[in-house]
């Protein structure tokens, strides 16, 4: 056990790094979709003591929702709001990638020190889960647009799901599905809000929401 899921975990890490370095919104949406599919495959492979039904259900849900439905929704939001294609970063792309590497080192260190109630399927699983979560947070913090915030939340959620896979014995299926549903609603709401913001204010840069505070 371990070596067959390692390539997927590494691919997850690479997707995270690419997300940090990507300058085009469309590319980011595609990358998040890829990440969702990868997560589904991961859930299929890590089936220690699960019923196969559960694994298939989770994997199928993940692939369907994150790989197909969410990207479609965001695609629509992008089209509808006529958003410019760039990510508009606060932190430059190259620096983001290097910071990402730093975060990865940190999570590997933390992952080595955390004691889990059950042994994880791979020594990489916990660091990758933490790293994905951190990447999501970073995207939320370091990019300007509202839509990238949605992307960030999605990546964050992917990290949490990875963590859930690491602790597959503990987390009941309902929690997983509940989380998925939460995000689903969140994406929908965001889509609607973005649409409305765009109609009212003509732009969707989150940093300009500051003007609303008065």
């Amino acid at each position: 056990m371990g070596w067959e899921i390692d390539p997927i975990l590494v691919a997850l890490v690479l997707v995270n790094l690419l997300l940090l370095g990507a300058s085009r919104l469309a590319a980011c949406v595609r990358l998040v979709a890829v990440q969702g599919v990868l997560l589904g495959v991961l859930a299929l492979l890590v089936q220690v003591g699960w019923s196969p039904w559960r694994a298939v259900l989770l994997a199928g849900g993940s692939i369907l929702l994150k790989g197909i439905v969410f990207p479609r929704l965001m695609w629509k939001a992008l089209r509808g709001a006529e958003i410019r294609r760039e990510m508009e970063p606060y932190v430059g792309y190259t620096l983001s990638v290097l910071l990402g590497l730093g975060m990865l080192g940190l999570t590997v260190w933390v992952g080595g020190r955390l004691t889990l109630p059950v042994p994880a399927a791979s020594h990489l699983l916990v660091p990758v889960a933490l790293f994905t979560t951190l990447t999501g947070l970073f995207l939320i913090v370091a990019r300007k647009k509202a839509i990238t915030q949605v992307l960030g939340y999605l990546v964050l959620e992917n990290g949490i799901v990875t963590f859930g896979i690491a602790l597959s014995h503990e987390a009941p299926l309902s929690v997983e599905l509940g989380v998925l549903l939460d995000v689903f609603v969140a994406v929908l709401v965001m889509g609607i809000i973005i649409h409305n913001i765009r109609e009212d204010f003509d732009h969707i840069d989150a940093d300009r929401l500051v003007s609303l505070k008065d």
Binding site: P7, V10, G21, V97
Partner: protein, 301 residues
């Protein structure tokens, strides 16, 4: 000893053929017949038989550039293992000597470019040093990943254990190292997506523009030197990619040579299917290669 020496000779003889293979692959993709496979040999031979023209601003440094380039390539081949077949000279940290020998060659090529006093060649030299400064840590980190994965500190020993210590237990390390090496190979050998060897616009070139002023035998040496450099990088990449390690060094070396030509085919495919990157994106890709190599180091248990 015997297979190592033959391996070095094979490199000396076959290096220009790599260029022929790349060109042929590109031609096939473009639906052309393409130039003969042996065209690079003919080019080099023709240039070596010609006279030369020099600019009055140049000094011996200009003439030294191509010579040092070929010398570094020749000596570098002695340090290059062909897959599981050991190199002629093996010691801990030998890859550093190999990388820095190529660095010496680059240093003199850059000086030769500056010696002409041309704005274009200065521009090429400036880009070359900037990009190679980023490629160097990526290359060293890739080597460090191999060292950590195999526990061996010389190139030949590390390559010899790539199969049993890297490929079997953790494929991601091998893939990441190979990816980083591939990026560095494309950048250092002035291939698309970093540089377009066929462009006719000097402003967009990196490597070609530095040797604009070389002619005759000097240019022949430049071509041969860059062919040797290409062989060395392809050899490194093939050593990681082709995990065939048998008891017979002859078989290992043969597999590696096949791997090297496979790398050349791969370069041709990349060149046919990609466009040149904008110059500002080049550093990002090189940093990406470094990050992949660093990731490989982190992944080794």
């Amino acid at each position: 000893m015997m297979p190592s020496a033959v391996g070095m000779l094979v490199g000396l003889v076959l290096a220009p053929l790599l260029l022929g293979v790349v060109n042929r692959v590109k031609a096939v993709f473009a639906g052309r017949r393409g130039q003969p496979l042996l065209q690079p040999y003919r080019d080099i031979g023709r240039l070596l038989r010609k006279g030369a023209v020099y600019s009055p601003t140049t000094t011996w440094v200009f003439r030294a550039g191509p010579v040092v380039g070929v010398a570094a390539g020749v000596v570098g081949l002695a340090l290059l293992p062909l897959g599981g077949c050991r190199a002629l000279v093996v010691f801990s940290g030998d890859f550093m000597l190999l990388i820095y020998l190529l660095g010496t060659a680059r240093f003199f090529v850059v000086l030769a470019a500056l010696d002409t006093g041309s704005a274009f060649e200065g521009m090429g030299a400036s880009r070359e040093v900037a990009f190679s400064a980023l490629a160097e840590p990526a290359l060293l980190l890739a080597m460090a990943a191999l060292v950590r994965a195999t526990g061996m500190r010389s190139l030949s020993d590390a390559m010899g254990k790539v199969w049993s210590d890297v490929w079997l237990p953790s494929m991601p390390v091998a893939v990441l190292v190979a990816a980083a090496l591939a990026v560095v190979l494309l950048a250092e050998n002035a291939r698309i997506p970093f540089d377009d060897p066929n462009t006719h616009l000097e402003l967009t070139m990196i490597h070609e523009v530095m040797v604009l002023d070389h002619s005759g035998p000097d240019f022949g040496l430049v071509l041969y030197g860059s062919a040797l450099k290409g062989w060395i990088f392809a050899g490194l990449l093939a050593g990681v990619l082709v995990p065939l390690r048998t008891g017979s060094p002859w078989l290992n070396a043969g597999a590696a040579v096949v791997g090297i030509f496979a790398v050349a085919v791969g370069v041709g495919v990349v060149e046919s299917s990609m466009a040149r990157l904008r110059l500002v994106r080049v550093p990002q890709l090189l940093v990406g290669a470094g990050v992949m190599a660093a990731l490989a180091v982190l992944l080794v248990r």
